[in-house]
């Protein structure tokens, strides 16, 4: 079954057509990058997946069922800004999701339940490289650390789909490379489908299994109002990446031993690296 199915979706704001005639399906555990020029409706599409906005026409299915009309815990999100709560400590930010889900009246856990949750949250923070920052406030973290926190906060809910809206767009190149590594590992270990909006093609090819380009096919001034953007390219990244496995190109290959077929251990272009075993012991799984 497809994780996400988009059937004949249009989005209009009054007379302005933003997106037209989108048809696509996204496989479970895929990592999809949405690219395209500014104003081509990438973020609008992401908001529709999130449930923050509804398609004007057509429908979106999540695991075969119609998408709920409002955001919920099955779809996590990380934005470029405002993803974490400034009034909570790092630990509080990671704990709040579980607290909100479990305590419907006060939204807080006390006693043993709180201690257990705090331990889980610390493990998650260690997983994203934020051990030791538990008692800081987000404003005291760097941009890259804030985004790590936002990822940890979203992953605590074990979402089926993780939506990323240009999450690493404001980071310095070095920090961005580090967080790309983390993002890859999380995607490999956590059973989730990822949809990421980005304007950075390099980032898209570094992380994604599939790249969707949105574009206005008719873009003359007199056409802009009545013709929206649509899916113009749909690229499967090669060599194919499969969640939980490492591709040929990502693997550590010892010098002089680059002909992996000589070892008789490699099915196709991917090989088992033990990432799935690691996942079984990880708090993320």
């Amino acid at each position: 079954m497809n994780a996400i199915t988009v059937e004949n979706v249009w989005k209009e704001y009054g007379d302005q057509i933003v997106l037209e005639n989108l048809n696509l399906s996204i496989a479970p555990r895929a990592f999809v990058a949405l690219v395209g020029p500014s104003g081509c409706g990438k973020t609008t599409f992401l908001r529709m997946l999130l449930g923050q906005e509804r398609p004007t026409r057509g429908r979106i299915l999540l695991d075969g069922a119609p998408l709920p009309p409002e955001p919920g815990p099955d779809r996590g999100v990380v934005y470029q800004r405002y993803s974490v709560f400034p009034h909570l400590t790092v630990l509080g930010n990671v704990m709040i999701g579980t607290e909100l889900r479990g305590a419907r009246l006060l939204g807080r856990r006390f006693g043993a339940a709180r201690r257990a949750l705090a331990d889980d949250s610390r493990a998650m923070l260690a997983e994203v490289g934020l051990a030791g920052s538990e008692d800081k406030y987000p404003a005291q973290l760097s941009g890259g650390m804030q985004q790590r926190l936002a990822l940890a906060q979203a992953l605590m809910m074990k979402p089926r789909v993780l939506l990323l809206d240009e999450p690493f767009g404001a980071l310095d190149p070095g920090i961005r490379a580090d967080i790309h590594k983390l993002m890859k590992r999380l995607w490999n270990e956590v059973p989730m489908t990822v949809v990421m909006v980005t304007h950075d093609l390099r980032e898209a090819f570094t992380l994604a299994t599939r790249i969707l380009a949105f574009e206005r096919l008719r873009d003359r001034p007199e056409e802009r109002l009545r013709y929206g953007a649509t899916l113009s390219r749909d690229i499967d990244v090669w060599p194919p990446r499969i969640a939980g496995r490492t591709t040929l190109y990502d693997a550590d290959i010892p010098p002089g031993q680059d002909d992996l077929t000589a070892f008789g251990q490699v099915p196709g272009t991917t090989r088992h690296t033990g990432a799935a075993d690691h996942a079984a012991h990880s708090p993320l799984a």
Binding site: S83, V84, F85, A139
Partner: protein
């Protein structure tokens, strides 16, 4: 070096800050001495010794008729009214301001009437309050509540509505209900703002308090000032005004300190 780039040091700041106070005091003393030299019976600008005597009478000597220490009983009566008014106003604000800020339906229902109510001049309502609620404590507290609440509500609901939409959506993806969003995401983030706007409303609150006391009361700081005005007792009025100012300043500093203590994250964003 340009003037705009000159920053005074710690000692210089202290000196500059106290300079206007010094000038005021010296100017008063000179003017007072000049008037008293002309006419030793002058009541308009009394000497410091008269102030000391008046303060002793009001604060440290029991009143001949009631046996009460007037300054303290007046202060207690006024602060009770003020705190009751501000407390009720804050409670109403928390409920209505949050509802307006968080729920589009409540905003549609209440925002226009609150905006309208905030334009009614509260002092013009005072006769109505005296007629409807009597001359006792209720009408004075009600005046403070009516005068202060609409502004607090508007400020709080604006602050709540100004939270980034992303933050609300994020809370929804963390399985929060409307109630939990209000309780754990919006409320803690608007509380520092509420304390700040409460500080700004201290001035109007004292204004309404003193106006109500001036017109009808049997104790209170405003009552005393307007009572002794008949005898031109500047030696009592000046210390009372200074005392009221001191109380307001102390409450302002107290609320500011409370905000820093309770919400250490507030302001971190800008400082970084």
């Amino acid at each position: 070096m340009r003037l705009i780039n000159r920053h005074p040091g710690r000692a210089a700041r202290l000196f500059l800050g106290s300079l206007p106070f010094l000038i005021l005091v010296v100017a008063y003393l000179v003017a007072s001495a000049a008037r008293l030299a002309d006419n030793p019976g002058d009541k308009l600008l009394p000497a410091l010794s008269s102030f000391a005597q008046a303060i002793e009478t009001m604060a440290l000597t029991p009143d001949r008729r009631t046996g009460a220490y007037l300054l303290w009983s007046d202060t207690w009566a006024s602060l009770t009214r003020l705190w009751a008014g501000l407390g009720i106003a804050t409670a109403i604000t928390l409920v209505m301001g949050l509802a307006i800020g968080v729920l589009p339906v409540m905003r549609a229902l209440l925002a226009p009437v609150v905006a309208f109510a905030s334009m009614v001049p509260p002092l013009a309502l005072l006769p109505i309050l005296f007629i409807a609620l009597g001359l006792g404590e209720t009408s004075k507290i009600a005046l403070i509540v009516i005068g202060v609440t609409p502004f607090l509500i508007r400020d709080l609901s604006l602050a709540a509505a100004a939270l980034p939409r992303e933050m609300i959506v994020k809370a929804e993806t963390l399985s929060a209900s409307t109630w939990l969003i209000a309780l754990r995401v919006v409320l803690p983030q608007v509380m520092p703002r509420l304390l700040d706007s409460l500080r700004l409303q201290l001035g109007p609150a004292f204004l309404f308090l003193i106006a109500a006391e001036a017109i009808s009361a049997d104790s209170g700081l405003g009552y005393r000032i307007f009572l002794v005005r008949r005898y031109l007792s500047m030696d009592i009025i000046f210390p009372y005004v200074a005392w009221i100012t001191l109380l307001a300043v102390a409450m302002d500093l107290g609320l500011g300190g409370l905000r820093r203590l309770m919400f250490p994250w507030w302001g971190l964003e800008g400082r970084r």
